[in-house]
Symmetry: C2
Subunit: 354 residues, 2 copies
């Protein structure tokens, strides 16, 4: 299989962990006889430095033309005082919107070797295995008007959705639940928001098409509680953009292994952007100690979801798990009696297990 | 001191726990020579049954005329399929807005006797002592337009704020921080929302007036993580309505004693509505087993914040703590080797300690 992969390393530790993922992908390509062609482009703060904007036109064009995108991380103190349009994260928002990557998938599964790093008690977090499906190109993030009024004496932002935008993400929720334990939690704030009431109606409509899936409606405030008191009760969660932003980040810390978690932002035709959920960690950038596993798992997510390479994806995940089970860990992971390794060493251990 | 107290028992366990709070307040009145006059009015589901609306005009009038309001809880399955304007929680939204109760105060402090009930590891939750100040009468909750459009093919809600609404809640945040450990965390989503950028500017402006207070800006998604990974790092949190709804509920479960937590919704002149944060628990209503302590602590909150009765409020809190330290607990609290008691018995134990 021949695939064009757009690499957007970004800022901070981005380039280091991207290098790891690329090496692992190259080994996979050799072993399984694929041809992965990498195209590197700028995004985030370094793109602001080089082109004056966080998502240059040529990056967007390359991303649209390739088969999938890997992204490291963006941002850092250097660009914090830039005007809004020149902030690194605007590059993220723009690439999502311009490419129409409307579905953000965030799997969160407890890794047994890391359970003691969870802030939650073991008996509460142990059985956690959740996928959060977050709508990514609508809602308060992109609604207009979003502006000051009355000489700066008032301000509005707009939460807006088209029916088809809700329909497609809710369907993605049902499809995902169907491929898992068949339990879908739809999160909204229907006791306050009209948009949530429309969301809930669409969930009810779509539910008729998926009789095998059990659907439950939970208010966003109640969901924020339940993720802590009973995370194992969730299977698949589907929700709108801002609720998904908050809940997926909340959920990402319950397993104690944020540095390990991958994410995908995809659209109907399979084009997807894959990135670890951790940030650019400017404080440790360039030291060669960053954890590359979230990036490597993002690459395996890409193989499975964008390229349909199930066996290869499993091999990569297997190799990562073996490395952890053997006690190898980077500085961010607190593993009892383990072996502390660098980014490069961890990458070699994973490649060794392949 | 003579005070007119409006009692809004509401639905489910509301009337039972209100009875407890009233008894305790009567004992306080006798001991400290006060005159508390109680006025009972309908709100929520029972108001829908009796008057066809969740907040009848006469309730609102009485609440406005009295010195403070105690509220039990509203809601239940009986009213779930009513049209929106007849849902019990609309009564809550309307009383907040009509009386201008713009500041919601939610203290969350670990109760040592209940630490093992926390879903978090003891070392993480142990030192938690947070107050969340949530804006309560603006933002997405009340912004217009909030409607379907294009024949139901799209929908909008509006997040709107006036400058003075942000200013007064942010000042409340600084004042609260000043009376505590002088650390204020302002939560927003300034990397996406214009309203958050205005919020952040106002926080920076007000900070100049409070040089003793250390201010930190945290994005709402990051705050949702940090409440779990490091709750003890927070002192006072100030945020807008919806973020406050989600974060305060999230924070309420970390101590494992949701049934104990009081809240206040106040305005500048001291009028306030005090209520436990737990719900109406229709499943156990009428059984006499509900936990009255969140309601009793809401009453002591009222004594301190609306009436300035510091000594009396402390006496009530002291009595509640003693009851817990002696191992008395209701069915919702899981206390090792404790004595399980009913609502009435718990109330008597608290009164006995007074
Ligand atoms: C950087 C920011 C704009 C972004 C978001 O809010 O979507 C981030 O938090 C995320 O979840 O990817
Ligand atoms: C019942 C609901 C409208 C309310 C809110 O969202 O404000 C509740 O969750 C609360 O926090 O008091």
């Amino acid at each position: 299989m021949k695939k064009q992969i757009t690499l957007l390393s970004g800022d901070g530790i981005g380039p280091e962990i991207m290098e790891s993922a690329k090496e692992v992908l190259q080994v996979i390509a050799e072993e399984f006889n694929h041809d992965f062609i990498f195209h590197e482009h700028a995004i985030g703060g370094n793109a602001v430095d080089a082109y004056g904007e966080p998502l240059p036109e040529e990056t967007l064009k390359a991303a649209e033309e390739g088969d999938a995108i890997l992204l490291g991380a963006v941002g850092g103190p250097k660009w914090e005082n830039h005007p809004v349009y020149q902030r690194p994260e605007q590059g993220l928002l723009k690439i999502r919107k311009s490419l129409g990557l409307f579905a953000n998938l965030r799997p969160i599964k407890l890794i047994p070797a890391l359970i003691h790093a969870s802030p939650l008690k073991e008996e509460i977090v142990a059985a956690s295995d959740i996928v959060i499906i977050r709508e990514l190109t609508g809602g308060l993030y992109f609604g207009k008007p979003s502006e000051r009024r009355d000489n700066g004496n008032s301000v509005v932002d707009t939460l807006s959705y088209e029916r088809y935008e809700m329909e497609r993400i809710i369907e993605k929720g049902f499809e995902t639940a169907l491929s898992r334990r068949k339990h879908l939690t739809s999160v909204d704030k229907a006791n306050v928001l009209e948009s949530s009431r429309m969301w809930r109606e669409i969930v009810e409509e779509k539910a008729k098409k998926y009789p095998e899936v059990t659907v439950e409606h939970v208010l966003v405030d109640a969901a924020a509680m339940k993720l802590i008191t009973n995370p194992a009760s969730f299977d698949t969660i589907v929700t709108e953009n801002l609720f998904g932003d908050i809940l997926s980040d909340e959920a990402s810390v319950i397993t104690g292994s944020l540095g390990m978690l991958p994410s995908a932002s995809v659209r109907e035709d399979g084009l997807g952007l894959y990135e670890p959920i951790h940030g650019s960690a400017p404080d440790i950038a360039g030291k060669g100690i960053a954890n590359p596993l979230g990036m490597i798992l993002s690459a395996s997510f890409m193989l499975r979801d964008s390229f349909g390479l199930e066996v290869e994806a499993n091999a990569m995940e297997q190799a990562v798990n073996e490395a952890l089970e053997q006690g190898y860990h980077t500085a961010d992971l607190d593993v009892k009696d383990g072996t502390l390794v660098s980014t490069k060493e961890m990458t070699d251990v994973v490649i060794g297990s392949l």
